[in-house]
Subunit: 218 residues, 2 copies
DNA sequence: TATCATATATACTTAGAAAAAATAAAGCAA
DNA sequence: TTGCTTTATTTTTTCTAAGTATATATGATA
């Protein structure tokens, strides 16, 4: 039970988060405090604290005196997550204009290359990783800590959603790479109006794809 | 220690939140777990859990093995809070167009009247309450739960900020009432483009006032 | 089907030990 | 004396262990 070890609760939260994100804990599954504590050979206190954090992240849902369950996402949730992400990211991209260095741009290019590579190798996990890192790099360049936080929170929720959704969906990866190239290009122009437009658009497309392609219950 | 009582931790969180928001716990002050537990005559577990929630809300800052402290807000924080709130609210207002009923509009009118009344009576606290409720009513009409949540979180942070800022600031209340009337009017038009414009503008003004009028350190 | 007993899980308490950090005290060098 | 480092001492957080109380779910009985 030693990871980065600053405190147990956060380590436990990280572990459970991973368990949810890689499907070890499935959507809707019950989470038993006592069992987890026993499994990790720790007491229940830190487990309870970890669960509280994860609840605030939106990965689990806790009902008093009933139990905690891995969040299940409905169509409405997917809508919410993507629209909010779009909104935040469009704003972040505009703010990022002031801060993006040539080094940042090179990093974004690199991530795009990597993304393409992972697409060729059909490595879905690394693909998703590149995707997230690409967007995160842009958002972090906004230097708007609250915006960054909220965006990251939505990212993990997207991650949880991919499990219930994306596996069954043949994502058109080529188009994704193209779209990202467009985002990168418009960032280079530093034209804030255009940036806002393109970034907002980017997500309406994603959202449309999602609602067409997947039979999410809800 | 009986309030609505679903669970102790949430009650404790509510109490501490109030203590911060009404200045009983000042910005930067240390929060001692054991002392709080003793004060409320409960054990430390629930207190720790409450603090975890409040940290996620941004009202306190916890440093591992060091302690928890009431958040102090810098100029950058004020900027972040207001810009994000503006962004979220402009979006919410557009979504609300589909859902706002005549009853909602009457409620908003009422709140404006009340606001004016409280202004005349120079009741600052009720004024702030009306202000928050006015905006919250609009945001809630968006039916976008994540957006609503984030907005509420920013609201409490605004509340915390008022303590360090607003007392020293002669708010131009007349203008505030006028501005709110404008918001209400534009909502009635149901013109989404215009709504976005006016709502965004509303906050750039607030932000400008704030940065001119207050010497927030940061 | 409704009711009561039983079992399970959560919520909280109590008491205290381990570990980290802050504080105070002592020692030493300039 | 002053400034700095090292070494206790104390405080606070972190976590443990075991157990009680309470709410919910399960399941048997009528």
């Amino acid at each position: 039970m030693i990871l980065d070890h600053r405190n147990l609760s956060d380590d436990v939260a990280a572990i459970i988060r991973k368990m949810i994100l890689n499907g070890e804990l499935k959507a809707g599954a019950r989470i038993n405090q006592a069992q987890l504590a026993e499994k990790f050979k720790i007491s229940r206190g830190p487990v309870r604290e970890a669960l509280r954090s994860l609840q605030n992240e939106g990965l689990i849902k806790h009902e008093t005196n009933k139990g905690t369950f891995v969040t299940t996402l409905s169509k409405q949730d997917a809508f919410e997550i993507y629209t909010l992400r779009a909104l935040l990211e469009a704003e972040a991209a505009q703010l990022a204009v002031f801060n993006l260095t040539e080094k940042d741009f090179r990093k974004l290019e690199e991530l795009l290359d990597q993304f393409y590579q992972m697409m060729v190798e059909q490595n879905l996990e690394s693909q998703a990783q590149c995707d997230i890192l690409f967007h995160r790099t842009i958002v972090e360049a906004s230097k708007h800590s609250r915006l960054i936080n909220m965006h990251r929170q939505l990212d993990t929720q997207v991650g949880a959603m991919y499990l219930t959704v994306s596996n069954k969906v043949p994502v058109r990866v080529h188009q994704v790479v193209e779209n990202h190239q467009i985002l990168l290009d418009v960032l280079r122009t530093k034209d804030k109006e255009k940036i806002k437009e393109i970034f907002s658009e980017h997500y309406t497309q994603t959202l449309k794809d999602l609602s067409n392609m997947t039979p999410i219950k809800g």
